[in-house]
Amino acid sequence: MKKTQILKYLILLVCVPAAVLLGALVFDDRKYIFVSACVAVLSCVPFFMSFEGKKTSTKRLVLLAVMVAFSVAGRYIFAFLPHFKPVTAIVVITGIYLGSEIGFLCGALSALISGFIFGLGPWTPFQMFAWGLIGLLSALLSAILKKNKIALCTFGALSGVLYSLLLDVVSTLWYDGAFNLSRYLALFVTALPVTAVYAVSNVIFLFLLAKPMGEKLERIKIKYGL
């Protein structure tokens, strides 16, 4: 327990700055993409490590696996509608009802398993980071999101837009090596329809699923004492 704590701080305080420095010193024209990839991976590691080091009840473990399976299976069920996927909604619901750690892991692992099935790529670490962050944020805001449906839907729409914005930054860094604003805006505009579909699908899925799924999760928590 103590050891993982130390390692966690070591990663955040030593490895991340070291990656930034190394990137700036060694990789002249590719430094931004190197640094951002390293930071994306390294910021997922403490979550994985504290999960590994801690004693988690087997029930929570299996519930996490089921929620990950739901978000990936949703991609199959809605395969006929491109970009219209319940992944973000399920991650948000998991974050709200099962806490920040499970929320983050559900997002990150959903991205990873989607990668296993639909193909891993350079975008996978960033997807893991983005969805993990969405799960974490929804856990932090759970008090508001549980009660207020308008806040929940707004959060869903915003997370769709933020997800798209973040991955556009990655593409820009990838093409140019540095942040080129005009390229970023062009990418953002061309991706606008997809972003809109993300946002709308998040709102629809959250509107339909949040309450019934939440009730079922609460019921399981009470029934089996989680």
Partner: protein, 297 residues
């Protein structure tokens, strides 16, 4: 241990992971057109050799437009470079930007095809064996999730059949269909959560919570895997030496630099070329062996 029929995927997950990691790192962090072309060639040949005709067609439909788009779009956004070709909206379109765009397109396709090769070679059991070494708990979650996905799909089918038989599943209008889907989904969630708790009870009963458990892995590290790993590391070391000596340096701005052709540069290119072509070489070797053995029957 070799379900997909790809010769290269017979190696141990650790060797394969190191191979792809090093290959991708070199490909991402160079701008040298020779190295990038070699990377693209290796990934392209391997994918072509292991694809079915239909997959190849789908790949051509996806990658060729992407290549052209990336290559053509770069000069519109990047106006550095010393040789203007013509002006568009008062912005120069430079020769350097055009060449750099082509180079980026080669790099992008090389990385994406290498990732595709990685996905082909590393099936989920290999990835789980890797994760299991580092983090047994995460590996358990991942393998359970991978098992739940087909289970959920099957259960979805079963529940909707049952609902249809009961006359609850209506598809007259969009709304009735949506309501039917929602009912099936609700039943599925209830079942999945209860099933998860049952599974966890069963795991506890079998001693999952006891200390000292390890991740089960079928993969054995053999001498061949060791040789493959050593080969990868040796080729990478030569390539890295070339990188550090500046043999792979290449810049597009302000002027396109010339490709180094001294003896050590050529050694660097050769080492990286072999590294990049390794999967394809194994594939060819396997086909030749098969042909030879058949010819003796």
């Amino acid at each position: 241990m070799n379900k997909n029929g790809i010769a290269f995927s017979r190696f141990h997950p650790v060797s394969l992971f190191c191979y792809f990691l090093l290959l991708l790192l070199f490909t991402v962090f160079t701008q040298n057109p020779v190295l990038l072309t070699l990377a693209l060639l290796g990934a392209l040949l391997f994918n072509a050799a292991t694809n079915t005709a239909r997959q190849t067609l789908a790949d051509i439909k996806f990658y060729v437009p992407m290549f052209l788009l990336v290559a053509l779009v770069n000069p519109l956004f990047s106006h550095s470079g010393a040789t203007p070709l013509f002006f568009m909206n008062d912005n120069p379109v430079t020769l350097e930007a055009v060449l750099c765009g082509v180079n980026i397109a080669v790099q992008l396709c090389a990385v994406m095809l290498a990732c595709k090769a990685f996905s082909k070679v590393m099936e989920s059991d290999k990835l789980l064996a890797l994760f299991g070494k580092v983090s047994p708990k995460l590996a358990v979650v991942l393998s359970m999730a991978l098992r739940f996905i087909p289970l959920l799909k099957r259960k979805w089918g079963e529940i909707s059949e049952a609902q249809k038989a009961l006359g609850y599943f209506r598809e007259e209008s969009v709304f009735s269909r949506l309501a039917s889907y929602a009912r099936v989904f609700s039943a599925l969630v209830t079942w999945a959560l209860e099933n998860a708790v049952d599974t966890s009870a069963s795991m506890s009963a079998r001693g999952y919570e006891l200390a000292g458990k390890k991740h089960f892995s079928l993969f054995r590290f053999t001498r061949g895997d060791g040789i493959m790993l050593a080969l990868t590391v040796a080729l990478s070391a030569v390539t890295l030496a070339g990188f550090l000596l500046g043999k792979a340096d290449f810049a597009f701005y302000p002027r396109v630099s010339t490709v180094n052709t001294d003896i050590f540069s050529i050694i660097t290119y050769a080492a990286f070329g072999i590294l990049s072509l390794l999967p394809f070489i194994f594939e060819v070797k396997e086909v030749l062996k098969w042909k030879y053995l058949r010819s003796k029957i």
